[in-house]
């Protein structure tokens, strides 16, 4: 029996030490040395303070100035949208997991369409009746943390944001263009606009006009 149990136990310990301890620690060491920014969450600094991550989206559709920001995609995280980690409630990344036939999905989409229309009204923008809403702007992402919207969704929101910030659409289009990423290496994935980076840039170049 020792010919069976001794190799099993000793090899189990060996592999635990090698693949469970040494491997992740060595990779951590090399990663921190070669790619310190990426390995620690690609954090964005604003005035020297950590102000989000390039890879994790933030919520812009609530609050007093909602109409003056580009909105991220809807998010199914709790207790609020775009919660990557909540220590009290032990919640994190999450999709809605609603089926295509679920009435709750249809209701959610309806509410999001209405919210976008209200934001247009709040900014004083009258949208031509024929415009359609790009689907990614009214459907929740897989992670609930999607940092991107499609170029079509950015274009859809552009007139509203321009109106709310009292700038011309062409000024804004230039900025959106600078934040539009084409396919990686011209090949992989889909074209995207990083919402957080775009909004941060927007705030620094065209601050929200003081009202009242």
């Amino acid at each position: 029996m020792t010919t069976l149990f001794r190799p099993a136990c000793v090899l189990f310990v060996c592999f635990s030490l090698l693949t469970g301890i040494a491997y992740p620690l060595v990779i951590t060491g090399i990663a921190q040395l070669l790619f310190p920014r990426q390995a620690n969450g690609t954090v964005l600094l604003r005035d020297g303070k950590p102000s989000g991550s390039s890879l994790i989206g933030q919520e812009f559709s609530t609050g007093r100035h909602a109409a003056a920001y580009f909105w991220s995609r809807p998010s199914a995280t709790s207790p609020v949208a775009y919660t990557p980690f909540n220590a009290d409630k032990l919640t994190g990344s999450s999709g809605s997991n609603l089926a295509a036939t679920n009435p709750a999905l249809i209701e959610n989409v309806k509410a999001r369409v209405d919210a976008l229309k209200e934001a247009d009204a709040a900014a004083g923008y009258e949208r031509p009746a024929s415009t359609t809403i790009p689907v990614d702007l009214v459907t929740s992402s897989a992670s609930g943390l999607d940092p991107h919207i499609s170029a079509a969704s950015a274009e859809y929101q552009l007139p509203r944001v321009a109106k709310a910030r009292h700038i011309t659409e062409s000024q804004l289009r230039e900025l959106v263009g600078a934040h539009t990423q084409s396919r990686q290496f011209g090949l992989f994935g889909e074209p995207t606009v990083n919402v957080l980076e775009l909004n941060l840039d927007l705030d620094s170049r065209f601050p929200i006009p003081a009202t009242e």
Partner: protein
């Protein structure tokens, strides 16, 4: 389906198939003990492992000894993973001070990782400490994959040896799989992923301030009605040793994510290129093992034949899934929503950077292999495209399949196929110069039918008992959620229609039992066949021998796989995704 989408799918298949030969050749050298280059660097570790564990690397095992070694080694893994989770709160490397995990969830997760299923009943970032991720789950990611590869190699030896009584040494196969194949590939992939933005850090989570504070109404304590407004000004970014875990999770067809939403999480899969690498890693080793198989039995055409059958089924189902997922949801279009621009389609539960083609590709690859990681929420797929991953699992995870276990599962179907062909022409069936006799047929039938029985029985029980009623979607889709869960567990896949609340004592236990039976109930018959075939004399090929590398046989093999899968599951699928698709279109 868009042109850039098709180009990406074609590129994926081309790169995958181009890597089959070099990696397959390398693995064949590893398993036959020939110099492979890496032995110069890692050889001292290998010899050290044998010395301290008292393994004689030259001594070989009979199939029964081999099976015992697999079972004892796996049992140790079960106890270790269970214990580490239960004791998590007392152990180091737990910066978020996460508590101990419940007994039923710990049981489920330990079975899940030891059987290479990696069903995620838990949310990674809010459940598992860094130590649990590394030492409990990470170790099993390596050794459960290596175990599958070892069993495959034992079966290949059984097929290629004549009048022999041993099929290799499990400890040697396990060690060599881990040291020379899984570990080097994981190191390369992990660093490539970090360069794209996958986190790899032992620091606690990072708090950042939000650009726009969020206001929301929260109920006051447990009182229900009363609410107060909460102002959220910060976001907490979870960190951890993720890249090292994700690399082996993809390569070892494990699939248990570091974060709750698995490879949809931007920290787990940040860019389209990281996505390409991760989805390539899913099928890399299973596909290359076909070449290893051909090389080791001394007839490469046999390896190509099996690979061709796998690739054919995969390609057809991939196109079907992509096509179905590109469709707009008619109920949403009614609100003036455009799902037709660029690469859009059914975007609920998907990430913009991946779009439709890469989400469908991942869903097909992860269920063709027994990986089970996801980059989009399968639960929100259109019914028809959700059917594709579900059915791929139900085919028994033999279209590429898990590392090792996919090919040994496929070889069971090959045995069934030559048996049926033998019946058709009235000759004793043979495969690779070995007579296939009643013992092999019984064992192959056991291996093919066991997962099917577990899926159907498990689903039947869950829809009847009240504890099974934890579906999140109404109607036919609720049934699909349960069917998907048992298909996943009983074929050691691990993906889910994740709306099903499966972290309950009932599902943790039922799915745990399915995972356990389907893994070990398969390994034992496979090793029995290996032992039985090894002991047989070779029969010379004659004019009446059915060649098993021709297009005719490849077609025959595809038919057997499809017919077994269709006969067993079409009634159940009709109650789930098929009826749901009709409802969606009738909307």
């Amino acid at each position: 389906m868009t042109l850039p989408g098709i180009v990406q799918l074609a590129l994926y298949l081309a790169v995958l198939l181009a890597l089959v030969k070099p990696l397959g050749w390398f693995m064949a050298r590893v398993y036959t003990g020939k110099p492979c280059g890496l032995d110069r660097v890692l050889g001292p570790f290998e010899r050290l492992f044998y010395r301290v564990s008292g393994v004689d690397s030259k001594a070989e095992m009979s199939w029964k000894e081999y099976a015992k070694a697999v079972l004892v080694f796996s049992a140790l893994g079960l106890f270790s993973v269970y214990g580490l989770q239960r004791g998590q709160a007392l152990l180091p490397l737990n910066p978020q001070a996460l508590g101990a995990i419940t007994p039923d969830s710990s049981f489920n997760t330990s079975v899940s990782f030891v059987t290479n299923t990696n069903w995620q009943g838990y949310g990674g970032e809010v459940t598992m400490s860094y130590l649990s991720q590394m030492l409990a789950l990470g170790t099993q990611n390596f050794v459960s994959a290596a175990t599958g590869m070892a069993v495959l190699v034992a079966l290949i030896r059984g097929l290629s040896r004549r009048s022999a009584f041993t099929i290799g040494n499990f400890w040697v196969d396990l060690t060599r799989s881990t040291l020379y194949i899984l570990l080097p590939l994981s190191c390369i992939l992990a660093l490539a992923l970090v360069s794209q933005g996958v986190v790899q850090s032992l620091k606690p989570s990072q708090t950042v301030s939000l650009v726009q504070p969020i206001l929301f109404e929260q109920s006051r304590g447990d009182q229900g009605e009363a609410t107060h407004t909460v102002r959220v000004t910060e976001q907490v970014l979870p960190l951890g040793p993720a890249a090292s875990q994700i690399a082996i999770k993809q390569l070892g067809t494990n699939g248990g994510g570091f974060f709750n939403v698995n490879s949809a999480h931007p920290f787990e899969n940040p860019t389209p290129f990281s996505n390409f690498l991760e989805v390539l890693a899913i099928l890399l080793i299973p596909a290359a093992l076909c070449w290893t198989f051909g090389e080791m039995i001394g007839d490469r055409r046999q390896g190509w034949a099996v690979l061709a059958a796998m690739t054919a089924i995969f390609t057809v189902l991939l196109l079907a899934c992509t096509w179905a997922e590109s469709a707009a949801n008619p109920a949403i279009t009614a609100f003036g929503v455009d799902s037709t621009f660029g690469a859009a389609g059914n975007m609920e539960g998907k990430e913009v950077r991946f779009g439709i083609a890469n989400s469908a590709l991942w869903a097909t690859a992860t269920t063709a292999a027994s990986n089970g990681s996801v980059n989009a929420m399968h639960d929100s797929f259109t019914p028809l495209s959700g059917l594709v991953p579900m059915w791929l699992m139900q085919l028994g995870e033999v279209v590429f399949g898990g590392v090792g276990c996919g090919l040994y599962g496929m070889l069971m179907f090959v045995i069934v196929a030559v048996f049926i062909a033998g019946l058709m022409v009235g000759r004793t069936p043979e495969y690779l110069g070995k007579k296939i006799e009643p013992f092999e047929m019984k064992m192959a039938a056991l291996a093919v039918l066991m997962p099917c029985a577990l899926v159907l029985l498990g689903t039947a029980v869950a829809v009847v008992v009240p504890q099974g009623q934890t579906t999140s979607n109404p109607g036919a889709h609720g049934f699909s959620q349960i069917l998907y869960a048992f298909s996943s567990a009983s074929n050691n896949n691990g993906s889910a229609f994740a709306g099903l609340s499966a972290n309950t004592p009932f599902y943790n236990t039922a799915l745990g039992v399915c995972m356990f039976l389907s893994r070990f109930w398969l390994i034992v018959p496979v090793l029995a066949i290996a032992g039985s075939l090894a002991s047989k004399k070779g029969v010379p090929a004659t004019a009446g021998t059915l060649p098993t590398h021709t297009p005719v046989f490849i077609g025959m093999l595809i038919c057997v796989v499809i017919i077994v899968g269709a006969l067993t599951f079409v009634p159940a699928l009709a109650l789930g995704p098929i009826v749901e698709q009709l409802q969606l279109q009738g909307h």
